[in-house]
């Protein structure tokens, strides 16, 4: 297995520079399997979001989110490769639940803005998988800046600054336009003859 192929599930995680630094620093030092570590990171957030958690003070919110970011980033740095496929979905779950929770803290009128933001980010999430399958390459890395942990941090700042729901709507609009325009551009370029890997778009066919 080549190193590049091995790292692709990690590409789906959309780690930014802070998450990667945390992975390098903490990953080798915490003696837990990566999937377990990622789960430990997500659990407090999932639990507090599930019981409502609408009357939580900002420092507690920050602590729960920081715990999730630190533990899931560290999971990405574990040398053990077993079960590595579980990390991207857990990171997505953490990130998206964080937006829903932050919007709920602002009030139920802010929930549609979280829906809009997640829908815009989901476009990019699908685009990563489908472009890899059909074009043979992932979208450029700058589209994932500032990383999922950076996006969560900005979302927290928006809540703290009282900029919700407008902040989420603006972010959803800007990201949506950037993602769609970049994807369209990539297909115009690919359509002009860049030869893709002929075996990259093999479907998962349930054949004999």
């Amino acid at each position: 297995m080549s190193a590049a192929a091995d790292d692709l599930p990690r590409g789906f995680r959309e780690d930014g520079p802070p998450a990667r630094a945390l992975a390098r620093l903490l990953g080798p030092r915490i003696p837990l399997p990566g999937p377990a570590l990622a789960l430990v990171g997500a659990l407090p957030l999932l639990a507090v979001a599930a019981v409502g958690g609408a009357d939580v003070s900002l420092p507690v919110v920050a602590a729960v989110l920081a715990w999730a970011v630190v533990a899931e980033s560290a999971a990405g740095g574990r040398p053990d490769r077993k079960g590595v496929w579980i990390e991207p979905p857990l990171v997505r779950l953490t990130e998206y639940v964080a937006y829903v929770w932050l919007a709920a803290l602002e009030g139920s009128h802010a929930l549609p803005s979280a829906f809009a933001l997640i829908a815009a980010l989901a476009f990019h999430n699908y685009d990563m998988a489908y472009r890899l399958r059909h074009q043979g390459a992932m979208p450029p890395a700058w589209l994932s800046m500032p990383g999922w942990e950076g996006r969560v941090a900005i979302a927290f700042v928006l809540l703290a600054a009282g900029a919700l729901p407008a902040g989420f709507y603006v972010a959803a609009g800007v990201l949506g336009v950037v993602f769609v325009v970049e994807a369209t551009r990539s297909w115009i370029v690919a359509g002009r003859g860049a030869e893709a890997d002929p075996h990259a778009d093999e479907q998962e066919v349930d054949e004999p």
Binding site: P89, I118, D201, E202, P208
Partner: protein, 573 residues
């Protein structure tokens, strides 16, 4: 971007040189000269290849048959008479070194639909590929395919342990793999010149197995009456049959004798093996519903003639355009009529991408109707969503039916499917708001659950695939398809007492697939798109958006538990 993007290679001939191997006998005449209503089998095949854009066809036959073959073909192809499989393989190596474009290697004595050959020859994805059939075609050699790649192939001298498909005698080799093919042909020629003892043993074993199989009766022309993909393995090893090698009917004796005589001359199967063992990427292109047979006796040829005459090729091609991996709702409630819409669209000259965009527009209208919030809006939205979903099935079927595949089209179809689904979520939530029943939290949860579920699927599929890209292949000399070192480990795995609990559960679980209903229930449990859209339409039209989201969350949550436990078990195995 509405026109399908085809790679530059198709502007040249899709196949530069086709090597047609007419050495298999039917008694003492070439099997390829069996008569059909529209001429000899060989002439029919060469005609099909020429129509499909093969630039140059070269027929290899025995010296004593040259005159007859010449008479059947006229000037349609060059004829060569190498005299032995060794010389034939050397000639092929020479051709592979001097040919610039793609090459095709095929048995001369097969009868199949032109669409089947077209699928292999003009499919832009299949740079190097084979025509493949289901595993019940007894007359064809077995192969094992995994994730769109052939990883093991049988020949007269080689065996496949875990076969799941068959090689239907047509191999297309892309220019990039031609040097590999030339080297393999040279090495095979050396081995065939002095057949190793292990190879001879394997051929003897195969002869015994073929006799046993014929004793049990069955279709031995290779026409399996359509491939039953999900049929349980019919344990074909002589050890398991329990049947005795009784006397065969005279016709079966004749077929068996011809097949045994053809086996040592089967250079096409050897070439495929050479590529597989050299780790070349070889894609199986499945026959699906189309017809294929290899009649090795006059009686078999007569049967082939009557069967193929009774079939409607266009109808079979249309049936083949329906994906066999679809879910229950799609298969039984949409595909039965969507395929006729696909044919209608093909006749109107519509492209798959136009259909995809039409589906998006209808999906947006459905979301808008849901956003009204009142009963009539929910009902109209439910109906429109089903129309959008049907249209969405039509685009893929149209692409497969007319062979207008494009990478952009596949991407657009996938991404717009997701867009439609989440637009409908938003529409439902807006509508619920307007009638005073806010469900945004449920809508957000359903959105997050579905995106995370898909991310898990992509991530898992990706890791699986990168692990199977390269299989360590044994050398050409070895009849078994796995490395010697691995055989000890396999024996342990075969011993039921040594198998892990996870492996035993999985084995039992896959056994349940033999029951048709269970197979469909398993597919439904994973909550595929057809079921999701049906749930949305039914619950929204009859109840409220709140019920819709709760159902989506409950079924989706169950699907997560179901698929993840399967994956964890497989990881522990």
């Amino acid at each position: 971007m509405s026109a399908p993007t085809r790679p530059a290679a198709t502007s040249a001939a899709p196949v530069d040189v086709a090597v047609v191997v007419a050495t298999a006998p039917a008694g003492d005449v070439p099997a390829a000269l069996a008569r059909l209503d529209d001429g000899a089998v060989l002439a029919r095949l060469v005609g099909q290849l020429t129509r499909l854009g093969v630039r140059r066809a070269i027929v290899f036959t025995r010296p004593e048959w040259e005159r007859d073959v010449q008479a059947a073909l006229g000037s349609a192809a060059e004829i060569r008479t190498p005299g032995s499989p060794v010389d034939e393989l050397r000639a092929i190596a020479e051709l592979a070194r001097t040919t610039a474009g793609p090459m095709l290697f095929t048995y001369a004595d097969i009868v199949t639909h032109e669409s089947a050959l077209e699928g292999l020859i003009t499919d832009p994805k299949a740079n190097t590929g084979i025509l493949a059939g289901g595993r019940r075609r007894h007359v064809a050699f077995r192969v094992q395919a995994r994730r769109g790649r052939v990883i093991a192939a049988a020949t007269p001298y080689h065996t496949v342990r875990r076969h799941n498909a068959t090689f239907l005698g047509v191999l297309r080799v892309a220019p990039t793999e031609l040097p590999m093919l030339a080297d393999a042909a040279d090495r095979l020629a050396k081995l065939v010149a002095d057949v190793p003892a292990a190879w001879q043993d394997e051929l003897t074993r195969k002869g015994t197995r073929w006799r046993l199989l014929m004793g049990r009766g069955g279709p031995f022309d290779g026409d399996a009456e359509g491939d039953d993909f999900a049929a349980p393995d019919d344990s074909e090893d002589p050890e398991n049959t329990g049947g005795s090698a009784g006397a065969l009917s005279p016709e079966h004796e004749e077929l068996l004798a011809n097949r045994l005589a053809a086996a040592p001359l089967d250079t096409v199967a050897l070439l495929l093996l050479g590529l597989v063992r050299a780790n070349a990427p070889i894609q199986p292109v499945y026959l699906r519903r189309l017809f294929w047979s290899r009649p090795l006796s006059p009686a078999a040829a007569a049967r082939t003639q009557s069967r193929i005459a009774a079939l409607d090729e266009d109808r079979l091609l249309l049936d083949s355009a329906v994906k066999s991996s679809d879910g229950f709702f799609t298969t039984f409630f949409v595909s039965p009529y969507s395929r006729y819409l696909a044919r209608w669209a093909a006749r109107r000259g519509l492209t798959p991408n136009q259909i995809t965009l039409a589906s998006l527009v209808i999906g947006i209208l459905a979301a808008a109707a849901f956003a009204v919030g009142e009963r009539w809006g929910l009902v109209v939205g439910a109906v429109l969503l089903q129309v959008a979903f049907t249209t969405d099935c039509v685009d893929g079927q149209l692409a497969r039916y007319t062979r207008q595949f494009s990478k952009f089209g596949a991407w657009l179809d996938s991404i717009l499917d997701r867009a439609k689904e989440y637009l409908v979520f938003a529409g439902l939530a807006i509508g619920a708001d307007r009638v005073g029943d806010p469900v945004w939290l449920l809508a957000c949860s359903a959105l997050v659950l579905q995106v995370v579920r898909h991310t898990s699927d992509f991530s898992h599929a990706f890791v699986q695939r990168s692990g199977t890209g390269m299989v360590r292949q044994p050398p050409l000399e070895q009849p078994l398809d796995h490395l010697g070192a691995a055989s000890g480990e396999r024996r342990v795995a075969l011993d039921p007492r040594r198998r892990s609990l996870a492996a035993r559960i999985l084995k039992l679980w896959s056994r349940l697939d033999d029951v048709r209903i269970v197979r469909w229930l398993k597919r439904m449990a994973a909550f595929p798109i057809g079921e999701r859209f049906a749930v949305i339409s039914i619950t929204a039209a009859l109840f409220t958006p709140r019920v819709t989201f709760i159902t989506l969350l409950a079924w989706g949550g169950f699907a997560v538990a179901y698929t993840q436990s399967g994956r964890i078990l497989r990881a522990l195995r």
